[in-house]
């Protein structure tokens, strides 16, 4: 560079880098989470003006303060995990199903309807079977409608599934108003259709069922022929067709699976946990699950961790809200989760790309890191 003033090279430029070793990837991600936690701590300190240790104790207490609380944490993790598992095969196929919320609600509605209409006239075991079948069907139908249109007409699935969420919500509101004669729209506790309780722990069954699904989904995606097809379709539809894969069939089949699993989540919410029906049973978890799945790189085993992180901070924020009622609200959990997610999403950039700075002496340094 003879003339620095007139001849300016860009300060840095960005290029795609070869794959980093796995431990460096994780180092970057852990650093991101750490940075996010530091930022959230600062935020808490500024807002609450208390010793952060005290606050973290409160957050921890909210999750593991007692046996019941611990199990509730596990149960909530399980529910979020189950929805994340459900959206995963679709996302791996690059089918942007953001309708998990609606699919879960469809499952809730179907199982509650079973209890409401035939709950008192059939034995409990039969009722549970009918509930399961109906919930699976309802979830699957909710997911397969956009899938069919995507497969045949290439209708935008992101927007379609989004709209389906609201149809499900209003459908529930419709039935609640129909069922509840008082017009309050609030359904009390349903007496029938309760799942059996293992020992005296009402959460254990849910946790076990979802753990089983996580393992099954892991095997399904990694080792099964269906899983292989999903991966190929996700990478390139043209290649899939070339390999003789019936892409339409795979899309529809995968979304049936995805919806069915959402339906089961709805079933668990109604049959094993809440024993009632409201429009907010899914509670936005259909959306959160997408982030849980994406952050775990669509790996069902990592998802256990990412789902736990989300639940941990939401529960923690609830506790903060009750410990410091004038300063904190339960919504604070969403802020922390949002910050952590934004950091993790952002840090992927530093895994995928290398930034090369202008100065030559610096170049050697970055080259070292790149290798």
């Amino acid at each position: 560079m003879t003339n620095e003033k007139t001849v300016r090279e860009p300060l840095f430029h960005i290029s795609k880098r070869d794959t980093l070793p796995w431990w460096k990837c994780w180092l970057i991600r852990i650093a991101a989470v750490f940075a996010a936690l530091v930022l959230s701590s600062l935020l808490i300190i500024v807002l609450v003006k208390k010793n952060p240790v005290e606050l973290y104790a409160s957050i921890f207490n909210g999750n593991f303060g007692s046996g019941t609380k611990t199990w509730l944490t596990f149960q909530d993790t399980a529910i979020l995990l189950c929805i994340a598992l459900a959206v995963t095969p679709a996302f791996k196929m690059k089918f942007w199903n953001i309708g998990a919320e609606g699919q879960v609600l469809a499952g809730c509605l179907a199982s509650a309807a079973c209890v409401f209409y035939i709950g008192s006239s059939v034995p409990n075991w039969l009722l549970l079977v009918i509930m399961t079948v109906c919930a699976i069907l309802a979830g699957a139908i909710w997911a397969v409608i956009p899938a069919v249109f995507k497969a045949i007409f290439n209708t935008n699935e992101t927007l379609f599934t989004l709209m389906m969420n609201y149809i499900a919500t209003f459908l529930i509101a419709f039935f609640l108003n129909k069922w509840v004669k008082s017009g309050s729209g609030t359904l009390g506790i349903l007496e029938d259709g309760h799942f059996p309780v293992i020992g005296d722990n009402p959460s254990l069954l849910t946790v076990l069922i979802v753990l089983f699904f996580a393992a099954a989904m892991f095997v399904y995606l990694k080792f099964s022929k269906h899983g292989y097809e999903i991966a190929v379709v996700g990478e390139s539809v043209n290649t899939a067709k070339y390999a003789g894969i019936n892409v339409k069939k795979v899309i529809i089949r995968t979304l049936i699976l995805s919806g069915a699993l959402c339906g089961i989540t709805g079933l668990l919410l109604v049959g094993a946990i809440n024993h009632t029906l409201t429009t907010s049973l899914a509670g936005g978890r259909g959306f959160t699950a997408i982030m849980v799945s994406w952050l775990a790189k669509f790996n069902p085993l990592y998802m256990i961790l990412t789902a736990f992180i989300v639940v941990f901070f939401q529960k923690g924020a609830n506790q903060l809200a009750s410990d410091f009622p004038t300063l904190m609200t339960k919504d604070f959990g969403d802020i922390i989760v949002g910050i952590i997610f934004l950091f993790i999403i952002g840090c992927e950039f530093f895994i995928g790309y290398a930034i090369k700075f202008r100065k030559r002496e610096k170049k050697e340094k970055t080259a070292e890191v790149t290798e």
Binding site: N3, V7, K16, K225, E229, E235, S236, T239, Y242, N246
Partner: protein
């Protein structure tokens, strides 16, 4: 008169990860000059030009315009220095009109007035002899119209240095002639033109000087008047290469694959293949020659069952395969591999490991719901050993292999399934000489085993040496099928450009219909009737 240098490059290098795209390139262009940039596929011509037009930024080196060093950070900078590039893949917005595309990105401070733009576009078109409707939407245009829009776009900005990336690849001979006329007019107008090509006859015809790149390195520049095609070829490929591809002698079997009266449409609804007949025997390599984009891709897709026929028959060993799903066609032993321009696309999943790519067509075998990765890994290992594929392991993603090794994996996998018909399009695209020869050897070996091979290629010399017969396509029409031993490059060239149609010359001979067809004439007409009946039935059931 001393010639003025318009553009000069000094020591330009560019790396993509570990791949060297350009290394220490020096190049200069004068005013009033047409410079050809010559090089094989993958020699770094386009990358180099992208650095001048601001798409890429060079890792090393300097660029001078009119003797002053400049930094071109973005296309905007390039415009500032009056550099304009016409990309091979047109950079046009489909839903915009021609004029809207032309005016994109111009910051002249003038108010946006589309009518004024329209009339200016017409003016420029008239000046250089184009035909264009400024209000026509791009998605309604033909390829040559789109190219016209691209050129006008650059002229509208008043570019003095024009770069054209393989402009003739998509044009008919008449259109090429017209284009060259336009280029000469621009040269007289004082402009510098760089034209990228790998067609020697065009280089000789249009350019004043020729610069040659080989594997990303600058080889030299020569005056066109003082050189000849032979010298250029030598500079382009390095040492003098005798194409000594062995043509294996085999006993031809009866036709394996017979195709009749094919009509196939492109995605945009235009006709890709228009009434073509041909057949492939076992132990035979049938070459398909033609300029890029004249129906080769659609033909491959139709045979593999990925594209439906408008009419016609494809018979495999006497049985129709029309309408079968791709899976069934694979099962019958028909393997298709198509290397697209980006070289990773149809046929391989870049992010998958070699093992996982090995399973692509066979993962469904067996009754187990799980894939058999163990056997795939064994096959991958076998392939790596046999074809000398350079890779750290069988679990390496294909994306990280070099081009030659990627293609070996693809072609190797197709052979692995022991097919009886291989359809292969551009299997040596972008490969170096040694890798190319490895691929030819693989094909010849299959030929010896009695496999029928359809070889769709770019390089006529290779096809003349490798193939037994060559079919020439021009705009989707079969211009005739010739014996490779009895024909010449010139004849093929004439047929490719539509100047020679053997169907007209030899009216008594019907090309592409085997005398010893697996089907008798009665059977053929019966097949036709059956298809007709099926079609009617379908139409009825649709109602």
């Amino acid at each position: 008169m001393e010639k003025q240098t318009a553009l000069e490059l000094k020591g330009i290098s560019k790396y993509f990860g570990s791949v060297v795209a350009n290394k220490n390139v020096n190049l200069s262009v004068f005013k009033n000059e047409i410079l050809s940039l010559l090089g094989e596929n993958g020699s770094g011509k386009t990358t180099l030009m992208n650095m001048i037009s601001g798409i890429y930024f060079p890792d090393e080196g300097q660029i001078f315009i009119d003797g002053e060093e400049v930094i071109i950070r973005s296309p905007k900078d390039a415009f500032k220095y009056k550099i304009g590039m016409i990309h091979q893949h047109f950079k046009l917005v489909d839903v915009f009109s021609a004029a809207e595309n032309v005016v994109l990105g111009i910051d002249d401070g003038e108010k946006y007035n589309i009518k004024q733009v329209n009339s200016r576009v017409r003016e420029i078109a008239e000046k250089y002899g184009f035909e264009i409707d400024p209000q026509k939407k791009i998605h309604e245009m033909s390829v040559s119209e789109k190219q016209t829009v691209e050129i006008i776009k650059v002229l509208y900005r008043g570019a003095d240095i024009l770069i054209l990336d393989e402009p003739t690849a998509v044009l008919t001979p008449q259109e090429i002639k017209k284009l060259f006329g336009v280029l000469r007019k621009m040269r007289e107008d004082g402009k510098s033109i760089i034209i990228i090509t790998h067609k020697l006859n065009e280089v000789m015809e249009i350019s004043d000087r020729v610069a040659i790149l080989r594997k990303g390195e600058y080889i030299g520049t020569v005056n066109t008047a003082e050189t000849n095609e032979k010298q250029l070829t030598e500079m382009m490929v390095g040492k003098k290469v005798e194409l000594k591809i062995e043509r294996v002698k085999t006993d031809f079997d009866r036709p394996l694959l017979e195709l009749r009266d094919l009509i196939i449409k492109k995605d945009d609804g235009s006709t890709a293949i228009d009434g073509v007949n041909f057949y492939i025997r076992g132990g035979e390599i049938l070459g398909v020659a033609g300029v890029a984009g004249c129906g080769q891709k659609e033909l491959c897709e139709a045979i593999a069952g990925l594209r439906k026929l408008e009419s016609g028959f494809i018979m495999h060993k006497g049985e129709s395969i029309v309408g079968l799903p791709p899976k069934e066609i694979i099962k019958k032993g028909i393997a298709m591999s198509f290397i697209p321009e980006d070289r990773l696309g149809m046929g391989l999943v870049p992010s998958f490991s070699i093992t996982d790519n090995m399973m692509l067509k066979t993962y469904g075998e067996g009754k187990s719901p799980f894939v058999n990765r163990k056997s795939a890994r064994e096959r991958a290992n076998g392939l790596i050993e046999r074809l000398e594929i350079v890779t750290p392991s069988t679990e390496t993603p294909v994306r990280r292999l070099s081009g030659g090794n990627v293609q070996k994996v693809l072609v190797g996998r197709e052979i692995e399934s022991s097919p009886n018909v291989i359809v292969t399009a551009y299997p040596v695209r972008g490969l170096d000489i040694n890798s190319s020869y490895a691929i030819y050897d693989i094909l010849n070996e299959q030929k010896k085993n009695g496999v029928g091979i359809l070889f769709i290629g770019e390089d006529l010399d290779v096809m003349l040496a490798l193939c037994d017969k060559i079919m020439v396509l021009c705009h989707g029409k079969n211009m005739g099928i010739v014996h490779a031993e009895k024909t010449t490059k010139e004849q093929l060239g004439l047929m490719m450009t539509g100047a020679l149609d053997l169907n007209e010359q030899k009216k008594d001979k019907v090309f592409g219909k085997a005398k010893d067809s697996n089907l008798t004439e009665e059977q053929w007409s019966a097949a036709e009737e059956r298809a007709e009946a099926e079609k009617e039935f379908k139409e009825k059931s649709d109602d």
